[in-house]
């Protein structure tokens, strides 16, 4: 069974390498990471915080936008592409379960995300380290950020897989992927912010809003990383830390871990019902 998942994953990785997805994803993570690190180095000097920690805060904000985008673009075609090429019926007659097909594709795509983020973060961190003013504490923050970024990637890979299996058409899946991205990284926050403004410090703001914030995968990611930093920084999104919002510190981590698991289960459910 694992041999079959590995066979699927190996083929997927070759395809990702050849259609230059690995290259594109790595390029995006590296270029934006470097730009943010360089732009963020000026204020850090005055604050006196660890430079790498400041960079981690910038990279966290970057990852909120970029990692879901890369993940969705990698996975939206997973099933729709097979359907449109006409390769799915043949594959489904092979002695490989749909669960293994899903697993093989997700493993390969997760590897692409992990690789792109590792290279992007790695080059950025190396540049900051070389410039001086970085410490081992910053490295720990970077590791936390990396692990959670891969988890965030997993969430959106599974989401892309779901909509690919539902639409079974590449064009429809692509537009839905963009819609999901905009909702997840922009509109969800805007809607929450709007609700908080309207509520004007009422019950919603104190009791519902923090939990909604934690429930969103991108906000949970932001909270987890920014509240973990040693220094208080101006956060790029909503909220400062989980504690200041009145939710337990474990809540963002649980949310981040639950999202990919739930979506993978859902993707398997949809895919199992999908007829060729």
């Amino acid at each position: 069974m694992t041999g079959r998942i590995a066979a699927m994953a190996a083929a997927e990785l070759k395809i990702a390498l050849r259609n230059r997805w690995i290259l594109t994803a790595t390029f995006m993570m590296t270029v934006f990471g470097l730009v943010l690190a360089l732009a963020g180095s000026a204020p850090a000097g005055t604050v006196g915080a660890d430079r790498l920690t400041v960079t981690v805060a910038s990279l966290a904000t970057l990852s909120v936008y970029l990692v879901p985008l890369i993940a969705l673009l990698l996975s939206y075609d997973a099933i729709a592409g097979e359907v449109e090429r006409g390769t799915l019926p043949l594959l489904l007659t092979y002695p490989v379960s749909r669960r293994d097909i899903l697993a093989g594709k997700l493993v390969a795509q997760l590897a692409v995300v992990a690789l792109a983020v590792a290279i992007g973060f790695g080059i950025t961190a190396a540049a900051v380290w070389a410039a001086g003013g970085a410490s081992l504490g910053g490295l720990r923050d970077l590791t936390r950020l990396y692990a959670s970024a891969v988890l965030l990637g997993g969430t959106f890979l599974a989401a892309g897989f779901c909509l690919s299996a539902v639409t079974r058409q590449s064009a429809a899946a692509a537009s839905l992927a963009i819609a999901i991205w905009i909702v997840a990284v922009v509109l969800f926050d805007v809607a929450l912010l709007g609700a908080v403004v309207v509520d004007d410090g009422g019950l919603f703001t104190t009791h519902v809003f923090p939990w909604l914030l934690v429930a969103g995968p991108t906000d949970a990611f932001r909270l987890f990383n920014l509240s973990g930093l040693n220094v208080e920084l101006e956060a790029g999104g909503l909220g400062g830390s989980a504690a200041s919002l009145g939710v337990p510190g474990w809540a963002p981590l649980v949310s981040m871990a639950l999202w990919p698991c739930a979506l993978v289960v859902f993707a398997a459910f949809i895919f199992r019902r999908c007829e060729a």
Partner: protein, 309 residues
């Protein structure tokens, strides 16, 4: 395995209001090759997809080696060649077949051998995107012969193949059947199939209207036989007049008779002696049989022919 390898019993399937299959029953024994014929839209592909477990029937039941179609046990036995077989264009032939071989629990070495077998030995390290249609079709054949398939499903497999590749294809099918596989082969290429199948099943509007050996179908259809008489010393016109046939060119006359009249007719022709140079007896072809069971006119040309059905 004693019973049929594929047992389709009383299966019905509809897509919304459209009836695709209506009470179809068909058994295929191990080692048997069944040709599945029918017009576009007659339900051939639907039936094949049901056997493969790619879709599910509304009524009736299907057993594949005693298991349900699409189950893990059935999937270990399948070899399938879809109508328009497709692969990922960024992979090489070798990588694609090796991946599929691994899914069947076979080695990459086995994949290379099957690529050699279908004549893609030189092209296997090129990307599939550079292959011609015929080469992609042969790649489909290469994946067919991996493992020891017991259920072989071929959906119009020879379209796009050149004559040499077709011969290769049919020899592969013979090998698979000799190794004990039950083969269902849907096709429009009637003339090709004639000598290459053990049994013929014909679908018409979702119903199975014929399921027998070709010889038996020919007898059951009671189709007319053509006798083609080459004129000898006498002119074709006068032979046509004496025998009551139609002159088809300056040298030949065609007579059409029912199977029961054949011997009497032949005696009549031979009684003409030197007037006749040669005679050919042309039994109804698979195409004629097919047209008969599909409710079309027989293709026999010649004036005054009665309708075949």
């Amino acid at each position: 395995m004693s019973g049929p390898a594929i047992a389709v019993s009383n299966v019905s399937k509809r897509y919304r209001k459209q009836i695709a299959l209506d009470g179809v029953s068909l058994d295929v024994a191990p080692g048997e090759r069944v040709a599945l014929l029918g017009h576009n839209g007659a339900g051939k592909t639907t039936l094949l997809k049901l056997v493969l477990g790619l879709t599910h029937c509304d009524a009736g039941s299907i057993a594949v080696l005693g298991a349900s179609p699409g189950s893990a046990a059935a999937r270990r036995a399948y070899a399938y060649l879809p109508e328009n077989v497709a692969f990922h264009k960024l992979l090489t032939g070798r990588e694609q077949i090796a991946m599929l071989a691994r899914l069947k629990g076979e080695s990459a070495q086995r994949a290379a051998e099957s690529l050699e077998r279908v004549g893609l030995g030189d092209a296997m390290d090129r990307r599939i995107g550079t292959y011609s249609k015929g080469m992609r079709q042969r790649l489909g054949l290469a994946q067919l012969i991996i493992g020891q398939p017991q259920i072989v499903i071929l959906d119009e497999p020879t379209s796009g193949l050149d004559p040499i590749s077709r011969e290769m294809f049919y020899s592969i099918v013979v090998e698979l059947a000799e190794a004990g596989a039950a083969v269902i082969h849907s096709s429009h290429a009637l003339t090709e199939l004639e000598a290459r199948t053990d049994r013929i099943a014909i679908l018409r509007n979702g119903q199975l209207v014929a399921d027998d050996r070709l010889a038996q179908l020919q007898i059951n259809a009671n189709l007319p036989i053509r006798l083609r008489v080459q004129a000898g010393l006498e002119s074709a016109d006068s032979i046509a007049e004496r025998l009551g046939g139609a002159r088809i060119n300056g040298q030949a006359v065609e007579l059409i008779c029912q199977p029961g009249e054949k011997i009497a007719r032949l005696a009549q022709v031979t009684s003409l002696g030197e007037s006749v140079r040669d005679i050919d007896v042309i039994p109804p072809s698979l195409e004629d049989v097919y047209r008969h069971y599909c409710g079309l006119d027989a293709s026999i040309d010649g004036a005054g022919m009665e309708k075949a059905s």
